[in-house]
Every structure is written in C-alpha cells, then in structure tokens.
Amino acid sequence: MIFWEIAKRNIRIHLLRSSLAMLGIVIGVVAIASMGILGNSLVLAVSDSLKTVGDSVIVTPHVGGTMGGFSGGAGGSSSLRITEQNFQQIKRASAPNIAIPVLQTSDRMKLGVGSDEIVAAIYGLNPDDVPDLLKLKEGGYSRGDSGVLVGSTFAQDNNVKVGSRIAIGTDGNKGTLRVTGIIEERGMAFDVATDSAIVVTKDWFDQAYNRSDYDKVVVKVKNLDDLPVVKTAIENQMNKRDKIVDVMDTRKTMETIFQAFGQITTFVSAIGGISMLVAGVSILNIMMMSVTERIKEIGIMRSIGAQRKEVMSMFLYEALILGFVGSLLGGIMSLLGGYAISSVMLQTTEYLFVPSSMIHIIYGMSFGIVISLICGIYPAWRAANLNPIDALRHE
C-alpha cells in the first residue's frame, strides 16, 4: 500500500496545516454530537418526568361545547363540570380500567401561626382512588376528612411535615387539616399536578366548596396498547350527538412532545452540520494545495506507470486520514463536552452513557469522515486527470 504510505507521510510532513484541517473536523463533530447528546438527554429527562402519566386517558369538559349533560352557567367555559351521571357513563365506557373523578380549585391557606398566607392548588379525590393515582414518599393515606396529602415541592417550599396543620381559606374559614402524607414527586403531569398542591378528600371538598361535579376524570389504563381503544370508547359514548368532552390520550400527547423535541434536536444538529461543511471546505482547500504542490510528482508517477485510479486513491487516502483522525478526536471531545454540558445543564450525566445519546457521536464521526471524503474527491479527481506531460513539465 505505497499510496497509503505516501498519503500518511505527506500529512506528517505538513503537520501544521493538516492539524488545522483536522481541527475543523473536530469542531464539526463536537458541534453535531454535543447538540445531539444534549437534545437526546433533554428528551430522556422529560420522558422520565412524564413516564408516570403516560398510562392515562384524561377526560375534560369540551371547552366551547354545548351544556348538554353538564351543569354550570350558560356558556361559561370555566364553570363547565362533569356530573356524577356523566362520570358513571365514562366509567362504564372505560371499564375494566379505573376511572378516577377529580375536583380541582385553588385557595388561600396558612401553614402555621404567624406564617404568611399562600395560594395553592387543591385537588379533591375519593380516598379509595388515591392509592391508584398517587404514591407517597412519607406518611400514609388520609382516611378521615380531616387529613390532607401534600405535594413534595409544596412540602419542601413550606417546610411542611407529616403532622403539620394547614388552615384552608381566608383566615382558615374552610377549616384546618392535618398532613398525613407527602406525595412522591410526579414532575410534569397531565392528570393531577400535585407537586405544588394539596390533596383533600372529595367529601371535604364538597362540603368546603359546595359542589360535587367534577373538573376532570382520569382513566388509568392497565394495558398501554388499549389507550386508543379506551379513548375511542369514551368519545363514542359521550360525544354521540354533540362534542361535550375532550379526551386526551397522554401517551399520544407525550409522543407529540417527543416528536417536537426530536425536531429541535435535528435542527440544532443541523446547525452543527454547518460547521462541518466549513471544515469540509477547509479539507478541500488543503487537498487542492496538496495537489498543486505535487503536480510534478503526479507526472512522474503517471510516467512510470501509475494508473489514474492509483493517483486518485493516494489523495482520497489523505482526505480519509484527515477525516478519520479529526472525527476520532472530535468523538472523544464530544464525550467530554457532552459530559460537561449534561452536568451543567441537566445536573446529571445518567442520560449520556445510553445508546440513544452515544449514537450521536457515531453520527458526528460518520458525517466527519464522509464530508472529508466528499471534499477530497474533486482534488483527487483533478490530480488523476492531469496530463502527464504537463505535470512533468510543471515547476
């Protein structure tokens, strides 16, 4: 492989300019791979925080819909509720999956003598449904109406512990409840976002706010493949004549979110790709210089019997070496860069060493090698097609 050897030696003899060309490829690979890793890590991070709610169908009153079987004021979408009768229809349509009715409001509350009043979301749930929907990290589920569960962020921000008391309403006019448990962090949730909220019993909610119609119904679907079936069954049951409920398949929604993240990742990686194109132009430039400097050498090779394809291979090897070494260094630096970015932006590197992140390094390196080869083709072709006589005369 004498042409491979010549290509290697030519790079070594022009180490500075070869290194500069490789630096371009390194930057290109780092840009593509780091952006890809960051995008993928974000997707994984969001996916982790959403995975607990990816098994639900959420039924809410149709905003702007007719009043149909719903209670509430004429046309006021904020007052739309799901009645007990509608809930029973939804429950039947989604059986054997569990349908959980949810009451929701927000109110002032005070967490101790002398503390400031705060406003937080309040969920009203049937105590029997709570274990199906929420997991506790501390304490126990409240059985009586005087108990309340609090979200983890709520507990942390307000220094609330199991046994603390919360006075609900202005000056505690709705009553005082005792914290029986702290709910595990749920992250972003489509069903009940409890992290910064409190959860009371349905009966207490009815009595305190004087209403028993529901704000939404959460259907926990056991077999994820049944999600679309359950969604369709509820729609068919409830929206026969008029559209009176909106039914959201959380997995579908998550897929849409991930798709959007995927598009963002592709977009930022494409921006990284532009730097790779610039690096490719640099390789092209170096290769053209290399051909111009070695015209006489090419003439000698051709005159003593080197075929065009052999001359071409010599320059392609050179482009390949530049691309491969640059991409390899870029791959290593992407790993380090990805580690740094993940540590700083996501505060964790658990999403870095996974195949879906690592594949971006492979993409970046492959792109680097392919771009270098493509940019080496024209100079190599030009070298191979030089007229041997003109090349020999070249000084």
Binding site: I2, R9, I300, A306
Partner: protein, 225 residues
C-alpha cells in the same frame, strides 16, 4: 524477446493546435530501434526532441502515423493500456532525477514493482539493482535529498530498470550533473547496454552522445541524419 524491432515510428506527425495556428512539432518521422541499440537523439532547442521522447514513452499520441512498441501499435490504446505499457516495457530516466522525496531509496526503487498488477515487491531485487548501479548499501534507507546528484541519478536508473523494461528512455540524463559524475553515469549506461538493455537518450551534448552507437539528428520536426 522475438526478432521484431523494440520500437518503430512510421510517418509520425504531431501537430499542436494553438490559437495562433497549428504548430507541427514532428513531420513524417520514420525510424526503427532494434533490440540492444544505444541511440542518442540530438537536435537544437525546439526541433522536436521532447515531442519525440514523449511519443516514444507513450505519454502522448501522434496526430497521424503509427508507433509500435515491441510490436504493439500504440495509436488505438486506451489511457489504461498506455499506462500499463509504460509500467511494463519502458523505463524513464529524467534530467532532474525525479525521485519521490517522501520515499527512501529502497522504496523509490520498489515503487514501480508496486504498480504491477501482482504487486509483488521484492526488496532483495531492488537492493541487487542498486548495487549493480554502484550505490553503497548504507545509503539504501536514506531519502533522496540526503544523497548527491550522481547518487540520485543512479537510484533513478535502478528504478527505471526494476521492472525489466524493453527500452530505457533517457532525457538529458547527465544534464544536471558535473562532467565527472556525468561520465560515471554514462559508463554505467554503456555497461547496461553491453548487457543487452536498449537505450534511447535525448541529449544536446556531443560528448555524451559519443557513448551511444547511433545518433538520430532532428531539426524542424524531421530526421535529418
């Protein structure tokens, strides 16, 4: 080798089309080169010597007429076939040696072996060839830039001979050497010729031409003697 001439030129014309008008570099050139000959080609500058050498070396094709190398007509050959012909049957020696600066001396000599389709590299043959052109063993691993002009030309001769060509084409082989070194190179070429190598040499130096056994003189694109 059979009895046919190693090279035949039949009414060879070479015209270069230029914007200012066609220039006829060779005009009806005819000659034969028999196996084992040592021929020098002489003529003033612009007489057509280089064009003739390029045609003999299959680096160019004639406008009209026929050229045969060891019985093979070159006119209809593709670029690939002409390259193979140069590789297998012709050895080149240049005025400026034209060794590859990135390769050491042994690698320079073995380079044409690597171009052959079998790609069988025989470094021992290269060493023997270098010894036969009187190059010291200690220089074999040096690069061309590390040896003298005369030594570089010896390496170039070894490289030209490594694939056992039918013809050795030399373009002013001593033109870049001092007279003593040039004489040494010419002694070496005479020795090669005595051993049977066919040599065609372009020169403008009558002293150098005196080493050959036949001289072809060319003027204005025609053979005059």
């Amino acid at each position: 080798m059979d009895d046919q001439p190693v090279m035949v030129f039949k009414d060879v014309v070479k015209v270069y089309p230029l914007p200012s008008g066609d220039v006829t570099a060779l005009d009806g050139v005819c000659f034969k080169v028999e196996e084992g000959e040592f021929i020098s080609i002489m003529g003033p500058s612009g007489s057509g010597k280089s064009t003739l050498l390029n045609l003999m070396g299959c680096l160019d094709t004639p406008t009209s007429g026929d050229i045969y190398i060891s019985g093979t007509r070159t006119g209809d050959m593709s670029d690939k076939e002409l390259t193979e012909l140069r590789r297998d049957r012709i050895g080149f020696i240049f005025q400026y040696f034209n060794l590859f600066p990135l390769l050491n001396i042994i690698e320079n000599v073995t380079f044409p072996m690597m171009l052959k389709s079998q790609r069988v590299v025989d470094p021992e043959k290269a060493r023997a060839m270098l010894r036969s052109v009187q190059l010291d063993d200690e220089l074999f691993t040096h690069t061309p830039m590390e040896v003298s002009g005369g030594q570089q030309q010896r390496v170039a001769i070894a490289r030209a001979l490594i694939n056992d060509p039918d013809i050795l084409l030399c373009d002013e082989p001593t033109g870049n050497l001092d007279s003593k070194t040039g004489a040494g190179i010419m002694e070496l070429m005479s020795e090669l010729n005595r051993k049977g190598t066919t040599i065609i040499m372009v020169t403008h130096d009558p002293n150098i031409a005196s080493y050959s056994r036949r001289t072809i003189r060319i003027a204005d694109g025609r053979i005059v003697e």
